[in-house]
């Protein structure tokens, strides 16, 4: 933080960072009620957040959000998105008036369902960041450090996996850190995606030009296979896949209310992705990180950086991208038969991107493959929510109907677009769960 530098000589990024920190201090250090001060001289960061507040006047109290909220459906601990969102916000003025807000999982189903455009989930995420600011649990800092986790676990993968599957260790972890003993954990891989990519040679020369691949932290360290499948399918289609050095999108920090850290993280990532080439399409198999870049960083944290807007407009979730090719008539249908019925769950943060469910259309291009959509709002995990010891039971109750549906549809394979949701589904059902691209990879005959 370059606080002593002449303010006139600050770069745009430094200036925004300074103001973010200043604002955060304002919020955390004030005596008495915490007030979220809107700095009108810096509309950059707060423009979107101010719009969120103004959107509450569009609420007509139709209660559609209340009916769709997966958390309020299973527990009275959360009083529901309308009460905690547009209603409580009127009284909030920075101060928390309804602590059940902490039980909101930030799945965003309320905003998705609202016919009047109220930014319900965004308001709640903003308010929670303020509410938690002066008593942020250590755990919530730690679980946001996803890259660190991957870096630490990869070199000692067998030990790390054994530790995370060891009951006594998990009980100690629950007591000390507050991560529930039964919560799903990623499986460490002995090879990171980056080290695979370094040695990887495309099977054939590119014929379609370059695209950028954003693997995300989970896709870099834990869901390495999903990343490899994505790259191999894109190369099979004729793309040159550029994989820039890249960090985390900051989603886990954001959802835990650590906005200052998350803003830095997402800005840095945008610079890294942009360095790979101007105007190139960016493709990601991390459904929720894609949502962070497309809209959450802007709409929840108010980041108005042109770099973010640029990246957010160029990024496509993998199935979304392949269906764009299909709609243009350039996706080859050279699929082998896959005779199977699979349950498919579109994660809440994927649905929140307002693009429907491209994975269903994609998978049903494969002859023999029948897709059964879960019809459920959320699997419960909502990023890091379902890991927390006090939220674990709620998260399991949220996911129960989905778990039942998965087991009933196909006990051998389920399909879902985001990492933590796959871990949640497979941990709670015992059913191996893959990204849609893995079935496309198989159908194109690329599985070895």
């Amino acid at each position: 933080m370059s606080a002593k530098k002449d303010p006139k000589k600050l770069t745009e990024a430094e200036r925004q960072e300074r103001d973010a920190d200043r604002r955060e201090r304002l919020v955390t250090s004030q005596q008495g009620p915490k007030v979220l001060t809107l700095n009108l001289k810096e509309p950059d960061i707060f423009a979107a957040q101010r719009l969120n507040r103004e959107s509450l006047d569009h609420c007509v109290k139709c209660t559609i959000c209340e009916t769709q909220c997966p958390v309020a459906a299973v527990t009275p601990l959360f009083s529901g998105p309308k009460y905690v969102g547009p209603q409580a916000e009127r009284f909030r003025h920075g101060e928390s008036v309804d602590h059940s807000l902490d039980y909101c999982s930030s799945c965003g189903i309320c905003t998705l369902s609202c016919p009047q455009g109220v930014q319900i989930a965004e308001l709640n995420s903003m308010a929670r960041a303020v509410m938690k600011a002066d008593h942020m649990p250590i755990r919530d800092f730690l679980i946001g450090e996803t890259v660190l986790m991957g870096k630490a676990m990869t070199p000692i993968a067998p030990i790390a996996n054994a530790a995370l599957n060891n009951k006594p260790i998990r009980i100690v972890m629950e007591k000390i850190i507050g991560v529930h003993r039964n919560a799903p954990m990623p499986t460490a891989q002995s090879q990171s995606f980056v080290s695979w990519a370094k040695r990887h040679q495309p099977a054939k020369p590119a014929t379609r030009g370059p695209v950028v691949f954003f693997h995300g932290c989970a896709g870099g360290y834990f869901e390495v296979q999903t990343s490899i499948h994505t790259v191999e399918v894109l190369e099979h289609l004729g793309y040159e896949v550029i994989i820039p050095t890249q960090g985390c999108c900051g989603l886990a920090q954001q959802s835990n209310g650590l906005f200052t850290q998350a803003r830095k993280t997402v800005r840095k990532l945008c610079d890294q992705l942009r360095a790979a080439g101007k105007d190139l399409t960016i493709i990601s198999s991390s459904g929720s990180c894609t949502g962070m870049l497309k809209h959450e960083a802007h709409e929840i944290m108010g980041v108005d950086d042109p770099a973010l807007i640029d990246v957010g407009s160029r990024i496509r979730e993998t199935s979304e991208f392949l269906m764009e090719l299909e709609d243009e008539g350039t996706l080859p249908h050279t699929f082998q038969r896959v005779d199977m019925t699979v349950p498919y769950h579109a994660p809440c943060q994927l649905k929140g991107q307002g693009m429907g469910m491209p994975a269903i259309r994609l998978l049903e291009l494969i002859p023999g493959l029948k897709v059964v959509e879960s019809g459920q709002a959320c699997c419960g995990i909502a990023g890091t929510y379902g890991l927390k010891k006090e939220k674990y039971d709620v998260a399991q109750a949220v996911g129960q109907a989905l778990f039942d549906m998965v087991v009933d549809t196909n006990p051998d394979l389920a399909v879902c677009d985001t990492e933590t949701c796959r871990w949640q589904i497979s941990k709670s059902t015992g059913v191996p769960t893959v990204h849609p691209i893995s079935l496309v990879h198989r159908a194109y005959g690329l599985d070895k």
Partner: protein
């Protein structure tokens, strides 16, 4: 015609999509939020007041049309209303009963009697046209949207022998204030139905019908019948203000069925532009997160709802606008706002003008595009809530638009 975009997820959008799918079209339905059917009373209106209460809507339709030449029913004709109603009746199957020419007359949550043409089978035991059996209105301590004494008192004024009781039976422990939906979720469980039947059974007198709030099950279709059997007396639901389950049941059934039939379903995004080539609509822009997504269309059914859905709005200059695409709006002449709350408000007759094929017309009565159709609450000329005509208009216009698209092929 292969690719059709339906804009709107209310009953007009749902029924258009259903009709189009049946014709073999590939349908993309774009809806900004969950559609308004969920917010309805869970029945299907054709014509309830004209302006006196209507007992047999199809018997008076010709007179109504003659008296209201700008009304969507006049543009469509009585046969189209019949066709639309039959299609809806078939689509919803045993979830809506009636369709015998007569309106049901059913109590509301304030104890008024409301006419509707097709009703949920869970409500028809409360039918008030026929004899007046004694009823007991059953409130719940924890459900504030259903005041049993108010309802019973108003029913008595209408010569229905009614009394009120209130049960103290929480849907979830420690919840002092629960919604009808929370109760309906509890009613999905057999153990809760048993508790409810037991508590109510103790207070039920012989020969009484029990009128309960609309909470008899959300996902569990057999909940109502099971509860009635446990009780051993006629049972009827009275619709609740949102979040009420009768509308949700219909909406969830319709949405799920269409998605299973592979209507491409885009929830949570606005349609922000309509593109044309050579005088025809060719695609719409959908504001998905981060970027616009172009969806190709051989025809478009525009069913985004009216003022209540934010699709029509009155600006500070007194101009009525169609907010999404800026289509030409037909506004009634003269004063738009009546002198007081109870007078007629002509503003609400504003909307899109259409020809008899449901093609949107410009100010000179020419189709804006030959393949742009409108349906439902966005249409000009109706007072849907006071007439009780909303679903009838939606179904008739949806079916006509879909059939016109079929004819284009």
């Amino acid at each position: 015609m292969n690719d059709v975009v339906v804009v709107g997820g209310g009953i007009a959008g749902l029924l258009s999509a259903a009709r189009l799918v049946a014709q073999g079209a590939k349908v993309t339905l774009v809806t900004f939020g969950v559609g308004g059917l969920q917010l309805s009373h869970g029945g299907f209106d054709v014509l309830g007041y004209a302006p006196e209460r209507v007992d047999r809507p199809f018997d008076v339709l010709d007179d109504f049309i003659a008296a209201n030449p700008e009304h969507p029913y006049a543009v469509l004709g009585a046969d189209a209303v019949r066709l639309g109603t039959d299609f809806a009746s078939e689509f919803f199957g045993d979830r809506l009963v009636g369709n015998d020419g007569r309106n049901w007359l059913l109590p509301t949550a304030v104890g008024a009697l409301r006419p509707t043409y097709l009703a949920s089978p869970t409500m028809v035991n409360a039918e008030a046209r026929a004899g007046h059996d004694p009823v007991v209105v059953v409130g719940l301590q924890q459900l504030k949207d259903f005041q049993a004494e108010l309802i019973a008192g108003n029913l008595v004024k209408q010569q229905i022998p009614a009394r009120a009781i209130v049960l103290d039976l929480p849907a979830r422990t420690h919840e002092a204030d629960a919604s009808g939906l929370t109760y309906a979720r509890a009613m999905d469980r057999a153990d809760y139905r048993a508790d409810f039947a037991k508590a109510l059974g103790k207070q039920l007198l012989s020969g009484e019908k029990a009128l309960i709030p609309a909470i008899a099950g959300h996902h569990e279709a057999a909940a109502f019948t099971d509860l009635q059997t446990r009780l051993g007396a006629p049972l009827a639901e009275i619709p609740l203000p949102p979040p009420g389950v009768p509308g949700m049941r219909l909406n969830e059934y319709a949405s799920r069925r269409l998605q299973d039939q592979r209507v491409r379903w885009i929830l949570g995004a606005r349609v922000v532009a309509l593109h044309s080539e050579g005088g025809r609509a060719v695609s719409v822009d959908v504001a998905t997160s981060g970027h616009l997504t172009k969806v190709r269309a051989d025809a478009v059914v525009y069913a985004p709802g009216g003022f209540e859905s934010g699709s029509l709005s009155l600006d500070s200059h007194g101009k009525v606008l169609e907010t999404h695409l800026g289509l030409p709006v037909r506004v009634p002449p003269g004063r738009l706002i009546g002198p007081d709350r109870r007078s007629e408000q002509p503003l609400f007759r504003s909307g899109l003008a259409v020809d008899d094929q449901m093609r949107v017309l410009d100010d000179a009565d020419r189709p804006v595009y030959p393949n742009l159709f409108a349906a439902g609450g966005v249409l000009a000329g109706a007072m849907r809530w006071s007439e009780k005509s909303g679903e009838g208009i939606a179904a008739a216009s949806a079916v006509r638009a879909a059939d016109a698209i079929g004819d284009l092929a």
